[in-house]
Amino acid sequence: MNAIEFFSRHGSEIAEATLEHIWLVGATMLLSVAIGIPLGILVARRPWLSKPILGSANIAETIPSLALLGFLLPVPWLGARADRITITALTLYALLPIIRNTAAGITGVDPAVREAARGMGLTSRQILLKVELPLSISTILAGVRVATVLTIGVATIAAAVGAGGLGEFIFRGLAMVNNQLILAGAIPAAALALTADFLLSLLERRLRPAR
């Protein structure tokens, strides 16, 4: 059975797994952006918080992904559903690049610009929303892009706890020593990662402020 035949026969199954995968990644990215950007702002505004926050995100990054899923299993509410555990674990991984880039973007704003904004009588909220965030948006998006690509790859382990996604094929293929099955998971995952990378880099370029 050649590859084309395989893909056409399992087309609907692959499509379904791809959608599951996109849902896991999408939910993770929404959550990690919602948590990561405020944390990044906090790191930029309160340098003494930088060590504890970045340190924790760094540690999360170093826990092997399968082990992290294992650790989360006994947690109440979270452990009750496979997708909850998966999204939580993936979010913990995605946070670091988002926090780091948000903080770097904001601290990288020209001090003269910030000084002028303060001197003109902008409140610190207005400085954040009208000056710092717009000027660091492309740096922040670069972090989101790295996190998204990373998440698409790591999300394949969701299958280990039964949360579905393209990892299903990979795990099944490994168990059955069937390369075609592994590729049925790996190729769409790679395609997803490349597409997300491309689309986000377009957006990043569009939003980059003129210099």
Binding site: A112, V113, R114, G119, M120, G121, K130
Partner: protein, 262 residues
């Protein structure tokens, strides 16, 4: 006549330093025991070397920093009793690198404070045009441009227009013409002098350039090592025999010696 006008208006102190000093948290003294008043419509120039404390003095006025000793009073009220946002919107601020917002057009840069102050749109548009014309830029040509598309001189003009946007009675300028080439600097300075006479704002300028101080200031405050070493009317300054002042004046005459040799 001009002396009489000065004397009258000087009675009404718009800015007043009372034993004002500023110390960093680590104890380093940046400014100590400054006493002076600036009257309505007057232009005071803080002249001194880099790091002398001039900018510190300026930042005390719009409460970018709070005095560690004494107080600074604006229109009779200590800066500590002003809401800092209200105070800063009451005072235009121009800095050397202009600090124009790179992601905003010229029009958006100038109209930011009027927009935040919720001016009606019908009033903002004409105001931006008026200001651009005032600083010598054609509104039709410049409104939609971004700062990076402008020359240094044009950016500086936009910086001045932005500071004047909400018509503040006080204007602070920190080395406003310092980043410009000498020819542009002379040109803009000249225009600014004309503007100054027309607007009648109370202005405080920080510079290390003696000729700039003499051209723009009605009074000159010499700042050295965190202290106000002297306060002179601009024309007194040239004739002063005090060593601190004459050092600056000597620097001014350095070129004339060169001319004689020729």
């Amino acid at each position: 006549m001009s002396i009489a006008t000065n004397a009258n208006t000087a009675n009404e102190a718009i800015i007043e330093f009372r034993n004002a000093g500023y110390r960093l948290p680590d104890g380093q003294v940046l400014l100590k025991n400054v006493n002076l008043t600036v009257g309505r419509g007057e232009t005071l120039v803080f002249l001194g070397r880099s790091g002398a404390g001039k900018t510190t003095a300026l930042k005390l006025i719009n409460r970018l920093i709070d005095p560690s000793e004494g107080e600074v009073r604006i229109e009779g009220r200590s800066t500590r009793d002003w809401d800092p946002i209200e105070l800063r919107r009451h005072i235009g601020y121009v800095i050397q690198e202009t600090g124009l917002f790179p992601h905003y057009t010229v029009e958006q840069n100038i109209s930011l404070i009027p927009r935040l102050e919720k001016w009606p749109a019908a009033r903002i548009g004409p105001r931006v045009q008026e200001l651009l014309t005032l600083v010598g830029l054609d509104p039709a040509h410049f409104m939609e441009r971004y700062p990076h598309e402008l020359s240094g001189g044009q950016r500086q003009r936009v910086g001045v227009a932005r500071a004047l946007a909400a018509d503040p009675p006080i204007l602070l300028m920190d080395e406003p013409f310092g980043a410009l080439d000498p020819l542009t600097r002379t040109e803009i300075r000249g225009e600014f002098q004309a503007l100054q006479r027309r607007l009648g704002k109370t202005i405080v300028i920080v510079t290390h350039d003696t000729s700039e101080a003499l051209l723009l200031g009605t009074r000159i405050g010499l700042v050295e090592a965190g202290e106000l070493k002297g306060l002179y009317l601009a024309r007194e300054f040239l004739r002063s025999n005090e060593p601190v002042a004459s050092a600056y004046v000597a620097q001014l005459h350095a070129l004339e010696v060169f001319e004689k040799d020729k």
